[in-house]
């Protein structure tokens, strides 16, 4: 299809506001009369709260209120609203604390300083309980019970199976089994969790907050505060990063709301960087057991995997992470028999949850490294073994998913070419590869929304300019730009004609928000439908004006309303709009669109695919890894904004490579060892490899203009590519993330000793 706006590189529509410092993040929000809140947190990993005495704090000049669990409705909440047993978190707990840093009370005061001082004056009487920090310990019979009624601390189990697994293993010529360990990771958003809550005497609550889904927080807040949904307004115009960590209710949102409702005054709470590290949520650490059976020629037959995930103290999004790691561990390959058993185990550590890739970077790392080990063992070519078993268009994952578009094979071809072009590598240099795939929008409705998954409203004004209202949330990934492009393309106007409104539940239609790589496809479809509807109204009027032969249909391209077959015959778009509005008794033209997936399998309506190659250098003396080149062949269907895609790719590589060799959250007796940006090792510019993206264009019938996801899935391959690169460079498999220099050296020593 020939596009006018789509696939032209453009800067983000909110770019100027951001780079000139005009964008108002929650950090920047001030409301007249605003107070400042601080949260008192548990110093114990597991303890019963016997008594809280806040009298001394309340006596401090400038302190306005102190709230504890007793000031709340005590509702156990969670994002899996459909499953009550998974709603297990009281943000201000009444009885027990289950991790260090868990909120126990919150203060509102005239200044942040006074609020901080007041924290020291609150006396909490705890009965300290035995605690457990590792899922493999917590699952033992004798381990302390963290939540009542969860035997062996197992929070969720997941079983995924298709085909006859045992039968398929019987046919295998070669079977390999490995244990892997995957670390946690901090979202480390530039903007820490924060909120300004303002409750007014008319019973309405407005909350400015840093969120991936304003709608989620509207509903979650209404639930726990006993308010009507429509009396809660959530505003999130600009969000300083989310990465999967900002769509559950957090303590900043909850505590500021409770305080504001008590005082009828606005209250602002901003997490410190330490609070964000110690007391928010994190990527789920996992122990992985993988057993794979193949034929001599490399045909995959069966895979069986067991995963034990460290759930931390609460469910969070962990149940979905468990399911997705199970499903995507099969990806992007065909298995005759596949069985995955997942166990999410509570521990007395900060809760784990979703994070960009959502269980898939782990699954991909274990799978791809093992595939390389199998190829090595059988003397097979590593590209060939992937090609032989890879997904193909129209493939059906039995009982789970139907794949429509799939460009995996072209991706493999491109990467193979690139590797060949690198020629013979010097010693200790290696290239790793990883295939991957991801969903384009999760179908699971754990949240139990009664609304469409995505909705959009397109309004054409008298001057021809267009207001696009979406519930989709821009968290820095550029969804407002993507959706504006889709709207402009469909309507036949220019990008600058569109004004996007998002991040405000009072003015935007509900939408599940930014997670599961869903917005381009789902919100994109809603926008396309809304734009199509508005366009149809406009064309009705234009047809009346032009009275063409009935066999012609009309179209709009680049602000020109014309006969589709005879583009020279047409009218100026702006003129048509003006007249049309008069013709509609002054009503603006309005189109509504929505999208909810039906009959699209269990997981997603569409899947992105790709292959990444990563060239590295290993220093055999110190084990240090240097990333050199990273080339990604990516099938995202029709690219919408190539510049946005590059941004997503580079961001994903920095985050995923960091996960592969730098980032970790070591926990000692429940305490986070590195709660600051010096000791927590985010990747820095000098550590980044040169990056290149090779766009593999496919057409996804379910996506708007054929588009699929191009952001989250890119996080999946890099840890795997790093591991396979180390294997290629120095011949050792590192089965534990992150791949630290010391692990590399130890493995090399072991290899030498053999």
């Amino acid at each position: 299809m020939k596009c006018n706006v789509i696939n032209t590189p453009v800067h983000n529509v909110d770019g100027i506001a951001k780079v000139t410092g005009r964008a108002t993040y929650t950090f920047d929000v001030t409301v007249p009369g605003m107070l400042f809140g601080k949260i008192l947190r548990s110093p114990h990993p597991h303890a019963r709260i016997k008594n809280i005495d806040a009298s001394a704090a309340l006596a401090l000049n400038g302190v306005r209120a102190v709230v504890t669990g007793k000031d709340t409705l005590g509702i156990k909440q969670g994002i899996w609203r459909r499953y009550k047993e998974l709603c297990d978190e009281q943000i201000l707990p009444l009885e027990k604390v289950r991790y260090i840093g868990e909120p126990v009370a919150a203060v509102a005061a005239d200044t942040e300083e006074i609020a901080e001082q007041a924290l020291d004056l609150i006396e909490v009487d705890y009965e300290v309980l035995p605690a457990v920090y590792d899922p493999m310990e917590a699952i033992k019979k004798e381990a302390p019970e963290i939540h009542e009624g969860f035997e062996r601390n197992i929070n969720v189990t997941r079983h995924i199976e298709w085909g006859d697994v045992d039968d398929a293993f019987d046919e295998a010529d070669y079977i390999r089994e490995d244990w892997f360990r995957c670390s946690g990771q901090a979202h480390a958003c530039m903007e820490t969790r924060c909120a300004v809550a303002s409750y007014t005497a008319d019973g309405k609550l407005a909350v400015w907050t840093s969120t991936q889904s304003a709608y989620y927080h509207q509903v979650l807040l209404a639930d726990v505060l006993g308010l009507k949904e429509s009396d809660v307004r959530v505003i999130a115009k600009y969000v300083g990063g989310g990465f999967g960590g900002k769509f559950e209710l957090d303590a900043a949102q909850f505590c500021s709301s409770v305080l504001s409702m008590k005082l009828c005054k606005p209250v602002k709470i901003v997490f410190t960087r330490e609070e964000d590290f110690i007391a928010s949520k994190r990527r789920t650490p996992m122990y992985y057991y993988v057993r794979t059976g193949v034929k001599k020629d490399g045909t995959f037959l069966a895979r069986e995997a067991r995963v034990f995930t460290d759930g931390g103290a609460y469910t969070g999004m962990g149940a979905t992470a468990l399911y997705l790691t199970g499903f995507f561990h099969s990806f992007p390959y065909k298995w005759r028999g596949y069985r995955h058993d997942g166990f999410r185990v509570y521990t007395n550590t900060l809760p784990s949850t979703s994070m960009r890739g959502f269980g898939t970077p782990h699954a991909t790392y274990c799978s791809e490294l093992q595939i390389d080990l199998i190829a090595k063992e059988l003397g097979l070519d590593r590209i060939e073994i992937r090609r032989k078993n890879g997904h193909t268009p129209n493939y059906e994952v039995p009982g789970q998913a139907t794949i429509a578009s799939c460009g995996l094979e072209q991706c493999l071809d491109e990467i193979e070419k690139w590797i060949k072009s690198r020629g013979e590598l010097p010693p200790n240099r290696g290239i790793g590869i990883s295939s991957y795939g991801f969903m384009s929008g999760g179908i699971f409705n754990r949240f139990d929304t009664p609304y469409s998954f995505s909705s959009a409203v397109v309004t054409i004004n008298y001057d021809g300019k267009v207001d696009l209202h979406v519930g989709a949330q821009d968290i820095g990934q550029g969804s407002n730009t993507t959706l504006a492009i889709i709207c402009a393309e469909d309507l036949g106007v220019r990008l600058e004609d569109i004004r996007v409104h998002s991040g405000d539940t009072a003015e935007c239609p509900p939408d599940l928000g930014a997670w599961g790589s869903r917005q381009t496809l789902m919100a994109g479809n809603a926008v396309k439908m809304a734009a199509g509807e508005a366009k149809r109204q406009l064309l009705e009027f234009a047809a009346a004006q032009m009275s063409p032969n009935i066999v012609y249909d009309l179209d709009i391209k680049d602000r020109w309303v014309h006969l589709a077959g005879r583009p020279e015959r047409g009218l100026d778009y702006f003129e048509v709009v003006k007249k049309a509005l008069r013709g509609k008794d002054g009503q603006r033209i309005m189109g509504r669109g929505y999208y909810t997936p039906h009959r699209k399998g269990m997981i997603s309506p569409a899947y992105s695919y790709g292959v990444q190659a990563l060239e590295i250098d290993v220093d055999p003396e110190t084990g240090k890894i240097k990333l050199l080149n990273c080339v990604t062949a990516h099938d995202c269907g029709q690219p919408i904004n190539p510049l946005g895609l590059t941004g997503q790719l580079e961001g994903a590589i920095s985050m995923a490579a960091g996960y592969g060799f730098l980032e970790d959250i070591p926990i000692e007796d429940g305490m986070v060892m590195n709660p600051n940006l010096v000791d927590y090792k985010l990747i820095r510019a000098p550590d980044m490899p040169e990056t290149e993206v090779i766009e593999i264009e496919t057409y996804e019938p379910e996506g708007p203009f054929g588009a699929k996801e191009a952001g989250e899935g890119l996080t999946n391959p890099t840890a795997a590519a790093l591991a396979t690169a180390v294997l290629d460079a120095v011949g050792v498999p590192i089965k534990e993330l992150p791949i630290t220099p010391e692990k590399v050296l130890n493995a090399l020593k072991e290899k030498k000793a053999q």
Partner: protein, 337 residues
């Protein structure tokens, strides 16, 4: 996190600063660039009632005296030290070490004197103790150590990047002590006890660093190993000095200084001695690096093992010695004879 409240004093000379230190005693702390002090204050591990900022003290440019000694003001910003032509040509190891500190922003604020006096560091210590690791450890005046629970001392690490370089350069610190001024070799500034790391008196301040004139056939080389490209404190850092004989074959003088692995920077005395008089060759360098690694005793730490540190010390020393030999034998980076 907010800074705690404090009283700010801004003397305009070292004399006045010392007088203020005498007046306010223990309750006062010196801030030069503040890049080490302020984060500690935010974490509440330093809570001075008075902060004496040295910002108003005029900073003189590095200069060379008539004997060729290089004088660098203690308040010179690290970025200026790194880019100063005089420093680059007369003490390239110092320029390299200054450039290896932190990030651009840190170097734009941090000073040379502050880097020399950098508080020893430890993961348990350098963080907020608002709700974890709350009981004070030895370094916070308490009676326990999180790193070595059975131990009875502190194992925090002296991480300064410039100090090993200054030791390699045989530099000295000029100290203002009351009305008196004295000079002390940089190497002798450190006690080895991370709780009271400096030998300076409580009211002493470093005003200048003096690097002796560069010698012929001599090279000093600095190397740093850290997890990332920039911002990280060293896993290990190292400076070596190598002076060659007239025929540029044998070693006439050597210093191997290793930093960031213990309570004070360490010298590999045995390895140095072993080099003296020997003809420099790959196996001799290899041997010296090996000796250094077995002689230096890295302290326990929580992010890597002692045996790993030994490997790193060996690799870093070897690389530094190789470069030093190359430069000393070619005359590159040192003043001509």
């Amino acid at each position: 996190m907010q800074l705690p409240r404090f009283d700010l004093k801004r003397p305009s000379s070292f004399h006045e600063a010392v007088r203020l230190l005498v007046e306010y005693g223990n309750a006062a702390k010196i801030s030069a660039g503040g890049t080490d002090l302020l984060p500690r204050m935010k974490y509440r591990i330093a809570a001075p009632a008075t902060v004496i900022s040295l910002k108003r003290i005029p900073v003189s440019e590095p200069f060379q005296d008539s004997e060729g000694n290089l004088h660098v003001h203690a308040l010179v910003r690290l970025s200026d030290a790194a880019s100063s032509n005089l420093v680059r040509t007369n003490a390239p190891a110092l320029a390299d070490a200054a450039l290896a500190v932190g990030s651009e922003q840190i170097r734009n604020m941090g000073t040379l004197g502050g880097n020399v006096c950098l508080e020893p560091r430890c993961h348990y210590y350098n963080q907020s103790h608002a709700y974890q690791f709350m009981d004070p450890c030895f370094k916070r005046g308490g009676n326990l150590c999180y790193l070595v629970p059975k131990g009875n001392r502190c194992w925090a690490l002296a991480c300064s990047d410039t100090v090993p370089a200054l030791i390699g350069l045989r530099a000295a610190a000029v100290v203002q002590s009351g009305d008196r001024e004295y000079t002390i070799p940089v190497e002798e500034l450190f006690t080895g006890d991370p709780v009271r790391p400096l030998c300076l008196g409580e009211t002493d301040l470093i005003t200048d660093i003096v690097v002796p004139a560069a010698r012929p056939r001599t090279a000093v080389v600095f190397r740093k190993l850290s997890p990332r490209g920039g911002i990280d404190f060293a896993t290990v850092n190292c400076a070596v000095m190598l002076k060659l004989s007239e025929d540029r074959e044998a070693c006439e003088d050597a210093i191997i200084a290793i930093g960031a692995v213990s309570g004070k920077p360490m010298r590999a005395g045995q390895a140095e001695k072993n080099l003296l008089g020997r003809k420099i060759a790959p196996d001799v360098i290899h041997e010296a690096a090996g000796r250094t690694a077995s002689e230096i005793r890295p302290s326990m730490r929580c992010d890597c093992s002692i045996s790993y540190l030994r490997k790193c010390i060996e690799s870093l020393t070897q690389a530094a010695l190789e470069t030093a030999y190359q430069r000393a034998s070619s005359g590159d980076g040192v003043k001509p004879d």
